[in-house]
């Protein structure tokens, strides 16, 4: 299992091979397309991430202290972002996700300050993930 840091660096590297802005967006949308479709039964009100302009669903589960994410959105761009987050999050230890940050998204060359804006959809997704982890996953006591 690769670490979160390693996975983030891989994503930055993948995007760095794309020169133009159009290519980067096209690739981001392809990442979203390559994600398996979400079970419609999981598109519940509880799984809807609040605070996004588009509709975003996060279906999360914990197994043996590890977290698994399935995601979807009606926006192709946001679906691409959720595909990146799914790659980074799925299979990771719950306690590592509590300190997850998304600064690496600023380095893929599509947005300059995505991670520093408090009031945006990515921050809402991160908040949704972290509250799930702290409420539903068994964390080691240390």
């Amino acid at each position: 299992m690769k670490t979160i840091k390693e996975l983030q660096q891989e994503i930055i590297n993948d995007f760095s091979f794309l020169d133009s802005w159009d290519e980067k967006y096209t690739y981001l949308i392809e990442l979203g397309d390559s994600m398996p479709p979400m079970d419609p039964a999981n598109k519940t009100e509880a799984n809807l991430v609040k605070g996004c302009q588009s509709s975003v669903w996060f279906s999360l589960r914990c197994e043996d202290g590890r977290v698994y994410l399935e995601a979807d959105s009606d926006s192709l761009i946001v679906r691409g972002i959720t595909a990146i987050l799914t790659t980074i999050v799925s299979g990771q230890c719950a306690q590592d996700l509590l300190t997850l940050d998304v600064q690496f998204l600023d380095e893929i060359g599509l947005w300059k300050h995505l991670s520093s804006q408090r009031n945006n959809g990515v921050m809402a997704m991160l908040g949704h993930l972290k509250s799930f982890v702290s409420e539903h996953c068994t964390l080691p006591d240390y």
């Binding site: 967006y25 302009q53 588009s54 009606d74 192709l76």
Partner: protein
């Protein structure tokens, strides 16, 4: 000699900035407009030369600042053709102006079972304050529907009016569809039923008719920042006869006459409604924006903006799969649309990458989006510094974005 509209773009320094290495194409003017250099200078000069608290100090700077602030009130009063400058109350913006009336009018005049009428075309800020007031006072909120073209149904409105109607709150131009509402008819009908009328002029005061006495509006609210002035300052006009009868909205310094443990009496208009140290440079900046607007021939300016809107409608509707929302009898400056199979947020994000600023979402008008049956749309909105080249850039941007977003 009037100022030429061609070249007015040069007066707005921000329009020279680059966004994602592209020249900025700013088409989010219904959200806020950019500021000409003269407005920026007026605010800077205020702080450099006369900054002081107003209405009380007897030193020179305080007197100069007071004079500049009150001269600004006079200039704004003249622009909307108000009988007395003290009928112009400074607020933080349209939202606060409406909240002031909803609160104070509600306290004074709304009893259980009384009715307030809004329209389905209202911004949330001319909807929710009335809803809250009705909940508090036991009033009943009614809504004039709009038809498939985006025009208000005045026949339904006529039926809605009754002896229980206390106030009708409507906008002059819809921020979401651009509909120019037939205010003379609406106001005449409301007055015939004995109801007062509040006009939300946030989108209209700088584009179309803004003579409040000709309109015979009882209350008229607008924001400086949507008409080339600074943010944080707005206006509530109210007829003196109404304002005298309304209780204060907020209390504190400036708004009082005498204070004791037993009883406080209030200052005269407009100060009764202006508690606390005001946003002194705000009216000075707004007044300068009005002077700037007055440099243009108003009829020429309106013709220029109408021509630009027609060009936008023509170019947008030529794109296959594009839906332009609303087809009202009269439209102003606002172009809301979606493209089949493309989510509005995606289109807005890609346009931003080309340096084109538009708004995406619901534009604070959920009742309109519900009526249209859509989760949101893309809104391009125009100002005097826009040109056909900006519309062309928007169309090119849409075509490029479509290639990326359509599978």
């Amino acid at each position: 000699m009037n100022k030429s509209i061609i070249g007015a773009r040069e007066d707005f320094p921000i329009l020279k900035v680059k966004v994602h290495e592209h020249d900025l194409v700013y088409l989010d003017n219904a959200a806020t407009t950019q500021k000409p250099q003269v407005v920026i200078d007026a605010i800077t000069n205020y702080y450099k030369t006369i900054n002081s608290n107003i209405h009380r100090g007897n030193h020179t700077l305080s007197m100069l600042a007071t004079e500049a602030h009150e001269k600004a009130r006079q200039n704004i009063a003249n622009y909307i053709n108000v009988a007395h400058p003290y009928e112009v109350i400074f607020t933080r913006g349209t939202t606060e102006s409406i909240n002031l009336v909803a609160f104070s009018f509600g306290e004074a005049f709304v009893k259980p079972g009384d009715e307030i009428i809004v329209s389905q075309l209202e911004h949330h800020s001319n909807f929710v304050p009335w809803q809250l007031m009705c909940q508090r006072k036991g009033g009943v909120l009614k809504m004039i529907p709009f038809d498939d073209n985006g025009d208000l149904d005045l026949a339904v409105f006529k039926e809605m009016l009754s002896e229980r109607t206390r106030l009708v709150a409507v906008n002059h131009i819809s921020n979401s569809l651009g509909t120019i509402n037939p205010l003379p008819d609406i106001i005449a009908m409301a007055h015939a039923a004995g109801a007062a009328v509040l006009v939300d002029a946030a989108q209209s005061v700088h584009h179309i008719e803004h003579d409040v006495r000709a309109l015979d509006a009882d209350f008229y609210a607008f924001s400086s920042h949507k008409m080339y002035g600074p943010t944080g300052i707005g206006v509530l006009y109210g007829k003196e006869s109404w304002l005298e009868k309304l209780p204060p909205y907020q209390s504190g310094g400036e708004m009082i006459d005498s204070v004791s443990l037993e009883h406080t009496t209030y200052n005269q208009l407009p100060f009764k409604f202006e508690a606390g140290t005001p946003h002194i440079e705000g009216p000075i900046g707004l007044s300068t924006a009005i002077d700037y607007l007055k440099e243009f021939d108003s009829l020429q300016l309106r013709a220029y903006e109408e021509d630009l809107l027609d060009y936008g409608v023509e170019r947008l509707t030529s794109i296959p799969g594009l839906t332009l929302y609303g087809n009202p009898k009269k439209r102003s400056s606002i172009l809301p649309f979606n493209i089949q199979g493309i989510q509005h947020y995606d289109l807005g994000s890609l346009l931003d990458a080309f340096g084109i600023a538009v708004r995406t979402g619901q534009h604070c008008t959920q009742p309109i989006m519900d009526r249209l049956g859509i989760p949101g749309n893309v809104r391009a909105s125009l100002a005097l510094y826009n040109s056909k080249a900006d519309i062309d850039a928007l169309i090119d941007g849409i075509m490029r974005a479509r290639k990326i977003l359509r599978k």
